[in-house]
């Protein structure tokens, strides 16, 4: 099949969740399909400033078409509209304007879909919240499959989405929780599948020497990803500092780019962006992964941790994270500081049980998230969409 994958930014050096998901899926689909990535020149997800050259390139088996961003994001206007959305006070015009201000504003990308959308057998769109998808999907609605990557945040409740979610001919969801969130807004009978994301088995052994130079103390628990208040990191640090006040000799290692201040504390070790070898070694050596994010449509990091047999402690206020942990029997959850402390105590004081939780997580990944299983579900959905709508 000739497939287009529309995503707001694209590149091997982009760490974002939905962008990474799109790239992995597209690269694996490219083994059996003719895949074109339709994206912008942006790399920075805050400003959408043009970074990559516009035009056509070929990357890891896919054709990539990048279109320039016409206007960078005005954060003040965007935040003002976001406040209106959060307060459930936005008019229909303001709701539409929110999607415009969220960006990226790439008129040539939309023009490409308008002119050439019919040339693809299916057009897959990632993340309903971005302008390329929100305004682009209606231009190729007859062959559109949406990967909403919806989270339980205020935007999902805006009225404008009622009409939008009626447009795609099929949906690919990441978790049952995400499906339930969107299902209430989409027409009954629209084909859909829950795919999550694919993973290859982790290497049997890792070189842990890359950790030597980092001066980490044992035991440590790991946070992996963007260090950002929106990812729950402020709360994580607050809970963790309260935990170590009790005298537990454990370190919190935070690996990822930081967009917030991290307190200078001997028990907190920020590493910044880490390469694949360090990441791999951290996942091998940590005692648990902590996932404090309140909003997720799927936690790839959680799956990666389980892929290494690492148990997790997750924020229970995020239904997706809690659901993943319960389905996998792969970790514990907390919804307050005192539960965080009790959960971490359990994982550190019961190493055999903690290891078993990690193994159960790995077994869950083996059952649900290996590439052949995921690709089979996608192909079945793409065939079903074609059968029913084209």
């Amino acid at each position: 099949m000739k497939l287009a994958c529309v995503v707001h930014r694209y590149g091997a050096d982009i760490a974002g969740g939905s962008e990474g998901h799109c790239r992995l899926i597209a690269e694996h689909l490219a083994a059996h399909h003719d895949v074109t990535i339709v994206t912008t020149c942006a790399k920075n997800h805050i400003t959408w400033a043009n970074h990559y050259p516009a035009g056509e390139t070929h990357e890891r088996g896919t054709r990539v078409l990048r279109f320039p961003v016409a206007r960078e994001r005005d954060m003040r206007r965007f935040m003002d509209l976001s406040d209106l959305i959060a307060a459930d006070r936005a008019t229909p015009d303001e709701q539409e304007q929110w999607f415009r201000e969220n960006g990226p504003d790439a008129p040539e990308l939309l023009e490409h879909l308008r002119r050439h959308g019919a040339g693809y057998d299916r057009v897959l769109f990632w993340s309903y919240r971005y302008a390329d998808t929100y305004f682009g999907l209606p231009l190729a609605a007859q062959r559109a499959v949406l990967v909403p990557t919806a989270e339980e945040d205020p935007v999902i409740h805006v009225d404008a989405l009622e009409a939008f979610f009626a447009r795609p001919k099929g949906f690919l969801f990441l978790t049952p929780e995400e499906q339930a969130l969107v299902a209430a807004r989409m027409p009954g009978g629209t084909p859909s599948a829950i795919i999550g994301s694919g993973l290859d088995p982790a290497p049997a052994a890792s070189d842990l020497s890359s950790l030597d130079a980092l001066g980490l103390s044992d035991p440590f628990v790991l946070y992996l990803g963007r260090i950002d208040p929106n990812k729950g990191c402020q709360t994580l640090i607050r809970h963790f500092l309260r935990y170590v006040e009790g005298g537990r000799p454990v370190q919190l290692v935070m690996a990822g780019p930081a967009s917030m201040p991290i307190p200078d504390h001997p028990r907190i070790r920020p590493l910044g962006f880490v390469d694949e070898a360090v990441r791999e070694a951290l996942l091998r050596k940590a005692r648990a992964l902590i996932m404090p994010s309140p909003y997720e449509s799927l936690s790839m990091v959680l799956l990666e941790a389980w892929n290494h047999g690492l148990p997790a402690l997750v924020n229970a206020r995020c239904k997706v994270l809690r659901g993943q942990v319960e389905r996998a029997d792969g970790g514990l959850y907390y919804s307050s500081a005192i539960e965080f402390i009790a959960g971490l105590d359990y994982l550190l004081d019961h190493p055999d049980a903690a290891r078993q939780l990690g193994r159960q997580g790995l077994a869950y990944v083996d059952r649900q998230y290996r590439w052949p299983i995921v690709l089979e579900k996608i192909d079945a959905l793409l065939a079903q969409v074609g059968h029913e709508s084209l």
Partner: protein
């Protein structure tokens, strides 16, 4: 080596029981409500408030709908610069506010805005707590009335 399955629901059940017990002891030690001496009462209060905080949609409550007619109760967390002056004077004043005054006071605005957002969330949680209590009260009242109106000797269903 295959080990016995560890069930998350069982471990979490233990942890949650332990957390409630610790929380109750902590509150009693700090001089919290004497009724918390009774574990059952504490558990019932904990369940009701937890349901309000975790289980409810903060945007779907009755009280704000009733309040909305009289008072604009939501905190306005975004800045809306305006002027009542007409035409050119008005445009100049808006320009001065946006380009001169706002940059000078942005740090204060952002500090306040974050606190307004927190207060706004807290207000909505409190609305949900009140509604949960009102719901509980209504259910109890109905149950009481049904019991009172049942014929003597026959327990109400």
């Amino acid at each position: 080596m295959t080990e016995a399955k560890v069930r998350v629901d069982e471990v979490m059940g233990e942890i949650e029981r332990d957390v409630r017990a610790r929380l109750r002891r902590h509150l009693l030690k700090k001089g919290g409500a004497a009724d918390y001496e009774d574990q059952e009462i504490f558990d019932a209060v904990h369940a009701l408030l937890s349901r309000a905080v975790d289980g409810r949609d903060l945007d779907a409550t009755l009280l704000p709908e009733l309040v909305d007619g009289d008072v604009d109760w939501r905190l306005q967390t975004h800045l809306n610069l305006s002027t009542h002056r007409p035409a050119a004077t008005g445009r100049f004043i808006l320009f001065a506010k946006k380009k001169l005054l706002l940059p000078l006071t942005r740090w204060l605005f952002e500090y306040s805005q974050e606190n307004f957002r927190r207060q706004d969330r807290l207000n909505r949680i409190l609305f949900v707590c009140i509604e949960e209590l009102a719901l509980e009260n209504a259910r109890l009242r109905r149950s009481l009335e049904t019991t009172a109106s049942a014929p003597a000797g026959k327990p109400a269903r």
